[in-house]
């Protein structure tokens, strides 16, 4: 090893960007499978770059808003307060409170399809 302030060269220890992301789990995955690289999906940056946000509504008047509790601690109580807020402040808005059946980590396409069919918008929480 070089002493007395002489410069030396070392290798970079950091990994390279791969353009590969984890994303959603299959609906029937075990709750902890999100932490298992063997089970995680591998979406590419190219695929993810095509994700689009949905067009917004002109107004919520007369619309149905689904309130989805993801399952983190306090989520059910918090979303109940959100529903109460709508009842008090936006009585023309119909709200439907739902709780995810599986876990906060897994996809739940049946619920999303129900919201698509019967709802106009969604509020999902509470993360963390």
């Amino acid at each position: 090893m070089k002493k007395n302030g002489e410069k030396i060269t070392v290798l970079d220890p950091i990994g390279q960007p791969s353009g590969v992301f984890g994303s959603r789990l299959d609906p029937d995955s075990m709750p902890w499978a999100i932490h298992d690289p063997a089970n995680q999906p591998r979406d590419t940056a190219e695929k993810l770059s095509h994700l689009k946000m949905a067009p917004r509504l002109d107004s919520l008047e007369g619309k149905t808003v689904y309130l989805v509790n993801t399952g983190f601690a306090g989520g059910a109580e918090f979303m109940a307060e959100v529903q109460d807020w709508f009842t008090r402040n936006k009585p023309s808005v119909k709200t439907e409170l739902r709780h995810k059946k599986t876990s906060m980590f897994t996809d739940e396409p049946e619920l999303w399809a129900e919201i698509k069919k019967n709802g106009d918008a969604a509020v999902i929480g509470v993360g963390g």
């Binding site: 220890p13 960007p17 969604a122």
Partner: protein
Amino acid sequence: MENDYGVPTAPIVTSRFADYVQRDGRSHGMHLRWSFPPYPVGFVSKETLHGYVQGNDPISSAPLMEEVLFALTQPLTDAEKNPKIVKRPNRPRLLEPATEENLHRLFLENGWTDGLPIILPTEERVAEMLTGTDHDPQEVIGMMSVTTHEERLQYTVERVAVNAVMAGARPEHFPVILALGASGRPSLPSSTTSFASMMVVNGPIRNEIGMNSGLGALSPVNYANSVIGRAWTLMSINLGDMRPGATFTASTGTTINYNNMCFAENEENSAWEPFHVRKGFKRDESTVSLFRGWNVLTMGLGPATRMLEVMKSIGGPFGGAFTFICDPLVAKSLKNEGYADPMKLSEWLVNELNPRFKRPEMVNFIVAGGEMNPMWVTTDFSYFQSVSIDPWIPKAGIKKDAKPLRMPEPVLCKDGSCGISH
């Protein structure tokens, strides 16, 4: 919801995770319209939650529910309609030359270490580490991320060697470290609950590289156990993109992350088949088995019924995963109880614990220890996988130093008692 179902959505996440989720959204090319109530929302009163909903988002200072209405009704901006994923630049192979002192400072201040002194990965040292395998240094062997959503980093044999050098490992340890890298599994995956990991080595390589499976197998008394376990953590930091607060969210953290409970199974003194054989490998194959959980409780003593009592008292959050680390005396005792096959013991325990939860594979047994006390260590660790080490061993055999580094063997008197009082 936004892309697949076309439903405008307002996601709500507590303010503690504002940076985390905004970065996550951006890395996926979506600028979602978040709203952030104060943290935490769990285990607080109804009145507190009421105040959060009626009050302001502490990040934006705007009324929370006004933000929710805005998120659902205001037309999308051009940036929201045309999101872009920002590509990270490729990393260099070599860092800028600097003095040894400044390089140590660079590694430490960049968060590329575990806080303990490292061996600087010079070209000479990395080249020497690479003699520990026949694989091409530029072969990409895996991808890793401590998070579940952000971009994974990929790495070559050489990048694994860099981290192995930093950990203080020698070429003889490199095949085990490469097997860890090939798993793609970080030892400290990001969770607010502070995951701990464990790694257990089976097969001939244990003794060839001087791993400890006997007295103090889980203690800092063995070179191979120490540096291999540490290398997994350094790989998780550097190859798994671990950045505290950004990609790593362990609230309290755990000291287990320093070494990941790296040890070898005491196959020689076990009354049971080696763990890797029970998982379908041949006895003469070398493997590293990976586990993850949270808690470690020591000082379990007694028969299988006592194990059941302990399990009942510490059921895990997802219904109960347990891995018992048993002194060889325990395995012998349990075999005498009628459990020659530990899977039979797993089946009995699971059935007694919760007949509806019929997953005996969630209860595992490893044998390690010096036969000083018939005790077991209880963990709530889940078994994930066993990775073969053999593909990473050179055809000419494990590359050992002329005089391999070994710490002192445990001192035992000839009759094995050494004055130990029971």
